[in-house]
């Protein structure tokens, strides 16, 4: 155990230091200081950016930025440049906006996975306060004009990066409908009435308006999808048909009417980072005339490049990277 005396001693510091620090941080919050401005470096950066732009490298999308933050907070590591590049590659710019009664709601960008889709939605024109949580009173999302199986969607406030635009994440997931199976995806997203949650938990209605978008996007596969070789490997006999993609892992179990599996699923990357499964469906059950089959879909807590996997752990089943089909 490390020596804790210094941290304990910090607790006994005179209150004037604490007060000074709190006041200083409050006062400098939001102030952008420009220090040590290196003109040469700035010019060089502009030249590099110009050439990068010329060779057609995609700009970083808001959804990539969002998942880079998730990577830091949930994977507890700063995202690798290669992973960031991969997020850019699989993200799609949507760029749709609607202006209603002083507020512009935009669907900025998206990552569409096999069964899950993530959209960054922004609002401009509502007053922004740093410490507040904003939410829509009602919202709806539908992808592919059907609600087969179990559909989950949520629209959560992420925060405000720019001081102007509030950002939201729309997460959509269906356990049985494969979003990428059709030629094009028809998407409907609607949201109404923006509210603010005050510090003491009260709801304050800010805008009573509604926004609705209906649009199509091509459903070509942008994320990497792989199967797992189940021949000559030590997979648990109960787990089969494992399919791996950048957003999820799916598999089936068979042979009994047992309770649905409730296991931890993790992907350990070559650099040691651990990506975990965030949502695991309880398993769609079917009977093929001989045995019961359960299908599972588990979403990774952040989309990532599956070529960087060292191993996958599903409960007590270990899958090495050489078992992943290329």
């Amino acid at each position: 155990m490390s020596d804790e005396r210094l941290l304990n001693a910090m607790a006994s510091l005179d209150g004037k230091y604490i007060k000074e620090c709190v006041e200083y941080l409050e006062a400098s919050r939001g102030l952008k200081k420009y220090r040590h401005f290196n003109t040469g470096l700035a010019v060089a950066s502009i030249i590099v950016l110009f050439f990068v732009g010329c060779i057609g490298v995609k700009n970083r999308s808001a959804i990539s930025d969002f998942f880079a933050d998730v990577w830091k907070n949930r994977v507890n590591e700063k995202i690798d440049y290669s992973q960031l590049e991969y997020l850019d590659k699989i993200s799609r710019d949507i760029g749709l906006s609607q202006y209603v009664n002083g507020v512009t709601l935009s669907i900025d960008s998206a990552i569409i996975g096999t069964n899950a889709a993530y959209f960054i939605i922004t609002t401009e024109g509502i007053e922004y306060e740093n410490d507040s949580y904003y939410f829509f009173e009602n919202y709806d999302a539908l992808i592919g004009n059907n609600r087969r199986g179990y559909t989950f969607y949520s629209l959560n406030y992420i925060g405000n990066e720019t001081g102007v635009k509030n950002q939201w994440l729309l997460k959509y997931w269906n356990d049985s409908f494969r979003l990428l199976d059709t030629g094009k995806l028809n998407i409907t997203i609607s949201a109404e009435n923006i509210c603010r949650l005050t510090e003491n938990g009260k709801k304050e209605s800010l805008i009573t308006e509604s926004w609705k978008f209906e649009f199509d996007i091509p459903s070509e596969t942008t994320e990497k999808v792989r199967g797992i070789s189940d021949g000559n490997v030590s997979l648990n006999n109960d787990i089969y048909e494992i399919k791996l993609s950048s957003t999820q892992l799916s598999f089936k179990t068979q042979g009994s009417e047992q309770e649905p599996l409730n296991v931890k699923i993790s992907a350990i990357l070559k650099n040691g980072a651990i990506i975990s499964s965030e949502v695991q469906s309880t398993g769609c059950i079917s009977y093929d005339g001989k045995t019961w089959i359960r299908s599972y879909v588990a979403l990774w807590n952040v989309p990532f490049d599956i070529d960087s996997i060292e191993k996958i752990i599903i409960g007590d089943t270990l899958i090495h990277n050489w078992q992943i089909n290329q």
Partner: protein, 184 residues
């Protein structure tokens, strides 16, 4: 609402005191507790305990400055919970900060050599007095409030690299200072 008014509300046993306290310092308390515990449920529990503890202690306490009293209360309650939960070995800012400070004071087995925490606080205060206001705040942000480098950079408007360099320099200076005083 200023702090003296807030204390008046506590003295009058008005429930508005807690509401106003949360409004003014709720976010700060949440940050301190989360930096230590890194778990939303535990943080919520700690915040409830903090507000209750402040409600029970004022009056008779009449802390000045109030903000330091609140910070110390939430920090102590969160650390107590962390110690109760050590078996869970969560990775949080507290453990990272401990690793950073390990080099300054090596753990000693001999109890006689232990210096009193109060005495050490005095040395740190003198060290802080010799720093600029900005450096003092960066040092406290890291080692009192346990903010991450990124959070400090965001709040001060400096770069993460700059924060890191300043903290390394201050740690070295503190180590030297303590060596001079025979604490090491």
């Amino acid at each position: 609402m200023d702090d003296s008014k807030l204390i008046e509300l506590f003295n009058a046993r008005s429930e508005l005191a807690i509401e106003e306290l949360i409004k003014k310092y709720g976010r700060l308390c949440q940050s301190i507790s989360y930096n230590i515990l890194a778990n939303s449920e535990d943080v919520e529990e700690c915040l409830n305990d903090t507000y209750l503890s402040i409600w029970n202690s004022i009056p008779p306490a009449n802390p000045n400055p109030l903000v330091a009293y609140i910070c110390a209360t939430v920090r102590n309650i969160s650390l107590a919970m962390l110690r109760r939960n050590t078996a869970q070995k969560r990775k949080c800012e507290y453990t990272v900060v401990l690793d950073e400070l390990e080099d300054i004071l090596q753990a000693r087995e001999n109890v006689e050599n232990e210096i009193l925490s109060k005495e050490l606080s005095g040395y740190i205060e003198r060290f802080l007095d010799n720093q600029t206001e900005e450096n003092r705040c960066i040092f406290l942000s890291r080692y009192y409030f346990l903010f991450s480098y990124e959070a400090i950079a965001q709040r001060t408007g400096l770069s993460v690299k700059n924060i890191s360099v300043r903290l390394v320099r201050m740690r070295k200076a503190l180590k030297k200072d303590l060596e001079k005083r025979g604490v090491m």
